[in-house]
Structure formats: C-alpha cells, structure tokens
C-alpha cells in the first residue's frame, strides 16, 4: 500500500478527517437543536469568557480543570461578526485536534527512532490506533480536552526515551497539573532511568553503594524538574485564583461521591454506600489495589523491561480499578497502544486478539444496554443489570491486563538510545 509510504499523506489524511468533522460539527451546531459540540466545551468556553473579562474561571459551575485550559481558550471568547465568531469559537477544537495530530507524530517519531520500526510500519499502527481512529478525531473535534493529555503523554515518553530528563520532568509536572493521573508515569520513569541507562558509572554491590547508585543524575534532574514545574504552576494558579483553584482542580476529584452509574466496578457499591445502605466500607479501601498495582508492582516489574508497555499497563490498571470510569478515560491508554500492539501476543495470536476485542466490546455493549434501560427507559436496572455488567467488564479488562503484563515481561520493547 503506497499510502503508508509517505508520512505527509498519513498526516494530511488525519488532518483532513478532523477538518471535515470540524466543519460538519459547525454545520450541525448551526442547524440542529442537538449539538455536535460536547457539553464540556461549553464549560471551557464559558470559563474562557470569564477569564477574558478578568474573572476567575471557577465562576463557571462544574469547571474542574486548571485555569491554563481556560487561558488557552481565551480566543474563543473573542467576539466578532458572523464568520469570525464561528471561527474563534472553534479555536479550542482546532487546538485539541492539532494536539491529536502532534501526539500521533511524536509516537511515529519514537517508533522509528527508538523502536527501529520502518516508517511504513510505524505509520500503519499509529494511523490505525490513533490518527485515523474516528473515536479520537470525534472526541477532540467535539471539544474534549483529552487530546491535550495525549500529546503530553506522548511528549513525556519522547523526552524520556530520547534521554532529556529535565524536559521530561517539566512535561510530567505540567501533565499532573493538568490532570492528576499522569503522576503514575513518574514512578515508572524514575525506576527505568537507572545507572545503566543514564550512562553513569556502575557501582559496587554493597548495600550503601547500591543505594547511592540509585541516585543517578538523570533521576535527580527528572525529579527536580517535575516538582519544580508542578509546584510553580500550582503556585501561580493559587496566587491568581486562590482556594477555588485548589478545590476544583484537585480536592474535588478526591472528595467527590461518584454515585452515578458508570463503567467502574465500584459504581453500584458507591451508590449503595453514599445513600447510607452499606454495612461495610470496602470502597474506602478502593485506592489500595489500584495504587499498589499502579505505583508499586507494575513499575517495579515492567518499567525496566519496556517503559511504554509499563506505562500502558499502569494506565489500563488505573482506569480499570478506578472508582469512576467513563468512555473518555479509554483515550488515556489509546495513545500508548502503538508501542505495545506490534509485538503483543494479541497480534501474534490472532485468535487471542480477536477474543480480547470481542469480549471487551461485549462488556461495553452489555453495560451500555443496561445503561440505556436506566437512563432512557427508566427501568430500574442497577441490580442485577448494571452491577453484573460492570463486574463483567472489569473481569474482561483484568484478563486483558494479564496478557499485557505477560507480554511486557517477555515480548517487547527494543529501544535504542539516542547518541
């Protein structure tokens, strides 16, 4: 296939797909009472309008993001005559869509330079999983900010694999400031960046020298840069917007009661206990399995073998074991899939791969069917419907996770350090 010979063609096609969706979205918004634009985008642009007027973005209810996002979208608040207002309104979507394409480009670069992929093969995977994935293009052109996370994670991996510890640290700090969950990558990257990779001198075998040997220059630079950018960003935002910034960007996510139905296996239990009907408080310990796996076990076992696969497994675990899970969370691990898939047993053994895909889709379909019954038909499908569907989907995800972990241990990553 000649299409994949040329990166330009692949990226132009990806850009064209997004442009078509942007134009179509504008048309649907202007001609239908049912909007293409995501409700979250209305929250961002409302917040941007407040910021443009010199007010706090948190004046908008349910704005639960960093002020950076509202600042970036200030052009959407510019008013003008008819064609200009439509264009300025779409500014944020264009930004998110460009981030998507940039994220894809970074992944291709990494696959070619560090994973020794032929360009065509790299393009093929990235196009299939990310660039030409209609779900990804749809989410960013509807105005969801998840695309920005994609580019930050891709950039983080790129800076790490190309051995730029300070840059990687700065990106990590920014990503965590943006959306708390990327902190999990910090652990993997730290463990990965040992003396051998750092190129610094190997040390002796004594306990003390091993401990000292852990402190490699790259690890120090990475940690300091990450903390610096995270603290600096939060300090600036706190000085500017005070307590509401801390509350909405961080504390809200820690204290919310996710009682509404969602893909998480905890969802029915959380509804039960939030309403005061639970005798035990298992959900209070929900962070334990999630964090033990994500912060300790997965980085320890997998990070040094294959950093990208470890990060994929971490994200997958984080989402699977999380107390709340919606479909936008699936985008979080999609960007890391091109690093893992080519050498995975899901591709090597088509029967396994197809089974995994079918089971995952079946899990979604079962849940969505129950969700539809509840949300639109008003049937009381919390138990057993949604409860069992949630647990089944969890089981499927855990099974796939087991495959990813096994592959991460023996398949895998061949990275070539940049000179």
């Amino acid at each position: 296939m000649t299409l994949f010979d040329s990166p330009a063609r692949v990226f132009l096609a990806a850009a064209a797909l997004r442009l078509v969706l942007l134009v179509y979205g504008g048309w649907q918004d202007a001609h239908s009472a049912v909007k293409y634009t995501d409700i979250d985008y209305m929250v961002f642009t409302d917040a941007a309008r407040y910021v443009a007027k010199g007010e706090s973005p948190y004046a908008r209810d349910t704005y639960r993001y960093t002020p950076l996002l509202a600042w970036m979208l200030v052009p959407t608040a510019w008013e003008g005559a008819a064609p200009w207002s439509t264009l300025s309104f779409a500014f944020g979507k264009v930004l998110f869509a460009l981030s998507d394409v940039l994220a894809g480009w970074l992944v291709v670069q990494l696959l070619v330079r560090c994973y020794r992929f032929p360009v065509e093969r790299a393009l093929r995977y990235v196009a299939a999983v990310w660039l030409w994935n209609p779900m990804v293009a749809n989410i960013s052109t509807r105005g969801s900010s998840e695309g920005l996370l994609g580019v930050l994670v891709a950039a983080l991996l790129w800076a790490t694999l190309t051995k730029k510890p300070i840059l990687a640290g700065l990106i990590l700090g920014l990503a965590v400031h943006f959306k708390i969950y990327p902190f999990i990558y910090g652990v993997s990257i730290l463990w990965w960046w040992d003396a051998e990779r750092d190129g610094s001198a190997m040390v002796g075998s004594g306990l003390l020298s091993k401990a000292l040997g852990f402190v490699t220059p790259s690890r120090v630079k990475f940690t300091v840069a990450a903390l610096a950018s995270f603290v600096a960003l939060n300090l600036v935002m706190y000085l500017q917007y005070g307590q509401p910034f801390l509350h909405h960007t961080f504390f809200h996510h820690l204290t919310r009661i996710d009682h509404r139905h969602n893909f998480s296996p905890y969802s029915t239990l959380l509804y039960l206990s939030a309403a005061g009907g639970a005798e035990t408080r298992f959900e209070a310990l929900a962070f334990l399995p999630q964090l033990i796996l994500v912060v300790v076990a997965l980085p320890l076992v997998l990070a040094k073998k294959s950093l990208a696969t470890a990060m994929l497994a971490q994200t997958f675990t984080f989402v699977t074991f999380n107390k709340v899970c919606t479909s936008q969370y699936f985008l979080w691990y999609l960007i890391l899939l091109p690093f893992y898939l080519p050498s995975s047993s899901l591709i090597r053994k088509p029967a396994l791969g197809i089974s995994a895909a079918i089971l995952w889709i079946a899990g979604q379909a079962l849940w969505l069917h129950q969700g539809y019954n509840l949300e639109f038909l008003g049937l009381s499908s919390f138990v057993p419907g949604l409860f069992l569907a949630g647990l089944f989907f969890f089981a499927v995800n855990v099974w796939i996770l087991g495959i990813v972990v096994r592959d991460g241990g023996d398949g895998g990553e061949i990275t070539v350090a940049e000179k």
Partner: protein, 556 residues
C-alpha cells in the same frame, strides 16, 4: 378578631333576596351558588404563646397553599400558585435562626413516612439506621435563600431584571408537596383556637371547612402585627352555601359580609364589582354597592387552558410538556401600550432539576424547538450532580418565557386544531434505594400566565382582594397585569417514576450485602490475578532490564 366573608356570584347565577337574610344579631345565607372567600384577621396578642413567638421573630411570613384538585379561579381571586405549600419568610434579623419557624412547619406539614420532604431546619443530614426500608423520614435542611442579588446574577437575563423589583419579595422561600392541609387544620384547632375559648366550637367548624378549600393563605407582617388567614372555595358545596354568621360577643370582633359579582371595569386594568355589603350586628340591612379598582390579577375573557405532562418513557431525563389549545393563546385584553408575554413559573422539588446552562442558552434552535423564548429568572438548588440525599434545599424555581404561535397562523381561515406545546427538558436526581427499585417524584404543575407590563412605573393601587407574595409576581414590575391560564386536569401534580437501586430487607434476593461482597470479591480476585501475572514475570526474568535481545543499546 375580624372576619370577612365574601361570596362572589357569577353573572349568570340566580339570586333570590330570601337567600341572604340579615337580622339584628346574625346573617344567614341559604343555597347560595357562589365562590367564597373567608378572611380572618387576628391580632398578635390573641394568639397562643408558641405561635406568637414564631411571628415575633418574623418581619414577614406568607404561606400559600393550593389544592392539587383542579378549580376554576374567579375574578377577583384569579391568581394561582402551583399545588402544595409555599412559604415566603423574612426574619426580623437577617442572621437570626429560622429554627422556630421550621419547628412550626414540621407540625403544619407533618411529613408522611417516606415522603420526599426536605425538612426546613439547620440540622445536619441525618439518616435513620433502618435506611433504605420503610419508616424513613428525610431529615435534611434549610430553606432556599433566594437572595435578590444572586437571583439576578445567576439568571443570565438580558436585559437584567431590576433589583428594585425584588423589594417586595421575601428573603427565604420554602416549598413542599402537601396534598392535604389536615395537619394544619389540626394545629389550628389544638393550638391556635382551643375549646376553652368562647368562640372555640365555631372556630373549629371554620377550621374544618378549610379542608375543602381550594387555596389557603396565611399572612403576617411586623408592621400590622396581625395574622390573616384566608380560605378560598371557588365552587359551592352541593346545594349551595348554607351558613349562619352570629354577631360576635366581643365588641372588638367584627364580621363583614359581602355578596358580590365581578365584571370588567372601564379601564383594562380595572375590575368592577357590585352587590350587597353588611357588617353583622351593626348594619340594619344589606347595603347595595358598586365600586371598581385596579387589579394586578385579571381574568382572561376567553377560556384558556393548559395541561402538563411528561412524555413516557421519562428515564432519568424527563421532559415537561405544557400544552395549550391555540385558541387559548390570544393576547389578553391588556392596554394596547402594554407588552404581553406568556410565562410559566416552575416549582421543582429537589428530586428534579433543570440545567441552568442548558435552559439559559441563547441558541435559537434549541429555544425554538422547545417553543421557549428565554429563561427569565431562577432561584434555589442548581447543583447538577448531587444526589437528592445530599441536597439540603427544597428545590428550585424557574421563570421561563414561552413562545406563542406567530400572528400569521392566527390569520388563516381554518383555525389550527392542534395544541401548542412548550417543552422543558429536566433531569432527575438519584434517590435512595427502595424495595421496589422505584420511587415517585411528585411534581406540581407550573402556573402559566400572561404578564403584561406597562411602561408606566407607578405602583399598583391597593384593593381589598389583592394578592401578592406568590413567588412569581415579584419578578415583574409593580404595574404588571397577570392573566392566568386555567390548568385543565383532574390532578395538578404529576407523578414521575424514578428508577432507583433495588434493595430488599430480610431474605430477599436483592440485598446490599451481595453488592458489597460481590464487588469486594471480584476486585480482590482481579487484583490477585494481576499480581500473580506480575509475580510470574518477576520470577522468570527479575525486575531489572531485559537482556535477552542482543540489539539492546547497540548503536547504529
């Protein structure tokens, strides 16, 4: 104590002078076909201590209760509120506790088991331990503070409502679904007028009569230091009104009697009334009278009705439909220089809510598809995410301007028989689990009315039948005329089925324990499975770098 008994006869109702007979000591009526309003005014010092204590802390207190039965409003009593109990309250000191009032309200409302009743109190959220099962009282807290400033700021109104318009509105507002005022009547009988008083038995009868009233108002303000209780019956009992009013024993008490008919006045904002008046025991005979006065509440000359429904399936996002025959939507007979617009005022209990950002939109496609013009004002609980058991305030109020069919449609020779329907998308909150997997949300029908605002900003003259503090009236200028549409239905409360988590007590199949242990076991197994896989990897190749492939770290 002063009593005012007003009978309003329709123009076509027959009247025979023998039906109302005044003697030196009493007045009796017989078989009278009329609407009736009883208004009793009591001085603060005539009230029992408990009740007086509450009033003494109040600057203003207005209770408005309307029955959920359909009734025909009659001029000059044509104003309406949504069925249920509305409380408008301004404490004397802005920071003083409303606890005394709340204690009183708890007696007046006497919530049933399992009623979706938001307790008006400052208590912390409290749950009965037997929770999802029967015997639950929902004790949450606090009345809605509809701060005029915030109400203006949050409503996204262009042009914004002038805050001076809120000058007459109370600072705290509370609503609860209340199909019957039985406990209010019992409270009046046992506490306010007990049997020991000379007029006790008569007051008992009067209080009992309130049970069949279509609407009841209770008003107090710290300037008059008097409490007024009004009951309105828009239609007579079978056989007409037969009653006797004795001259009061005490010289301080008084009974006024009126038998009147209402008609349109000379000016569009006026109502003309004529008939017979008397003060029982004071006047020798019924005095014929004729007078007219400006009135903010006006009757519509042509019968105009609306119905409210939720199209099934309602799911978690029910849409309220307000349907009106197109013939109901002619411009009311307001002065020609007045601007008239059709409005609806929603009283939504906390179980159901609107999304202020969705409804305040200026997107014409959305508004036109729902036959809405704009969201004009909103107050109360706006949280989009909280479950009902976390919400402390009783709910929210929404004033929406509705679109009307274009004039051109009216001009067509054959009238369009189809209804004109405005729709308002709403959302349900999560409710606590129940044994059946369902709970019912009681949603009162909103009021629908024309508001005709004149440029003139002078105050509306007072009249003996005026009615204010209805919640929606204070959102308009002082000289606005209101024309109510008539709700047409057997019951003016919609019941919406809310799906909830199904939990059974005892040995049932749906038990909380199964959810708790099921989740715990599945998560633990999943956790152990991943750990096991990781252990296998660590066992076979350690936790360090993979050294199996020779290409590692080779440089090109």
């Amino acid at each position: 104590m002063k009593q005012r008994i007003t009978f309003i006869q329709r123009v076509d109702a027959g009247f025979d002078p023998q039906q109302a007979v005044l003697t030196a000591s009493s007045l009796s009526v017989r078989g009278l076909d009329a609407a009736r309003e009883d208004r009793i005014t009591v001085g603060l010092d005539e009230l029992p201590e408990e009740f007086r204590a509450v009033l003494e802390q109040s600057h203003e207190l207005h209770l408005r209760w309307a029955s959920e039965r359909s009734f025909d409003a009659v001029a000059p009593f044509s104003s309406r509120v949504s069925p249920g109990l509305h409380v408008h309250y301004t404490p004397l000191e802005s920071d003083s506790s409303s606890e005394a009032l709340c204690t009183l309200l708890r007696k007046v409302v006497a919530p049933n088991k399992d009623a979706q009743y938001k307790d008006c109190s400052k208590q912390e959220v409290f749950y009965d331990h037997s929770f999802p099962f029967e015997g639950t009282t929902w004790l949450c807290s606090a009345c809605v503070r509809s701060d005029p400033e915030t109400a203006v700021q949050n409503s996204f109104i262009t042009p914004p409502l002038r805050s001076t318009q809120f000058a007459s509105s109370a600072s705290l507002q509370y609503y609860t679904y209340l199909p019957s005022i039985q406990s209010l009547v019992r409270y009046i009988q046992t506490t306010v007028w007990d049997h020991s008083r000379a007029d006790g038995p008569e007051c008992h009868t009067r209080a009992d009569a309130l049970l069949s009233a279509d609407s009841v108002d209770i008003d107090y303000d710290s300037i008059s230091h008097a409490l007024t209780v009004s009951g309105l019956w828009t239609s007579p009992p079978t056989g007409g009104w037969t009653d006797q009013f004795q001259k009061p024993e005490s010289a301080a008490d008084q009974i006024e009697f009126g038998l009147l008919g209402a008609d349109a006045g000379l000016e569009p904002e006026e109502i003309k009334m004529g008939g017979l008046l008397a003060v029982v025991g004071h006047d020798k005979k019924l005095k014929p009278t004729m007078f007219s006065f400006p009135s903010r509440h006006q009757p519509l000359t042509e019968p105009s009705t609306y119905t409210v429904s939720f199209a099934p399936p309602t799911g978690l996002h029910p849409t309220m439909s307000i349907s009106m025959p197109r013939s109901s939507l002619r411009r009311p007979p307001a002065p020609s220089d007045a601007t008239c617009a059709l409005h609806t005022y929603l009283t939504l209990p906390s179980t159901i809510f609107g999304d202020q950002y969705q409804l305040a939109t200026t997107d014409t496609l959305f508004l036109e598809s729902n036959n809405l013009v704009a969201l004009r004002a909103l107050a109360g609980e706006m949280d989009l995410e909280a479950p009902d058991w976390v919400v402390q305030r009783w709910g929210s109020n929404w004033l929406l301007e509705l679109a009307t069919p274009r004039e051109t449609e009216d001009a067509t020779t054959t009238p369009d028989p189809s209804n004109w329907t405005a729709t308002i998308p709403l959302h349900l909150r999560y409710l606590p689990p129940s044994e059946t997997g369902h709970r019912t949300a009681h949603i009162p029908w909103p009021v629908v009315f024309w508001a005709c605002t004149a440029e003139d900003d002078t105050k509306m003259g007072v009249n003996p039948f005026d009615r204010t503090n209805l919640g929606w009236d204070s959102l308009f200028g002082p000289r606005t005329l209101f024309y109510q549409l008539q709700p047409a239905g057997d019951r003016l409360v919609e019941e919406v089925d809310v799906p909830v988590l199904r939990l059974e007590g005892g040995d049932g199949y749906f038990r909380g324990k199964y959810i708790e242990f099921g989740t715990c076991i599945v998560i633990s197994l999943g956790f152990l499975w991943v750990l096991w896989r990781l252990a296998c990897v660590a066992w076979s190749s350690g936790v360090g770098n993979k050294r199996t492939k020779g290409v590692h770290d080779k440089k090109e």
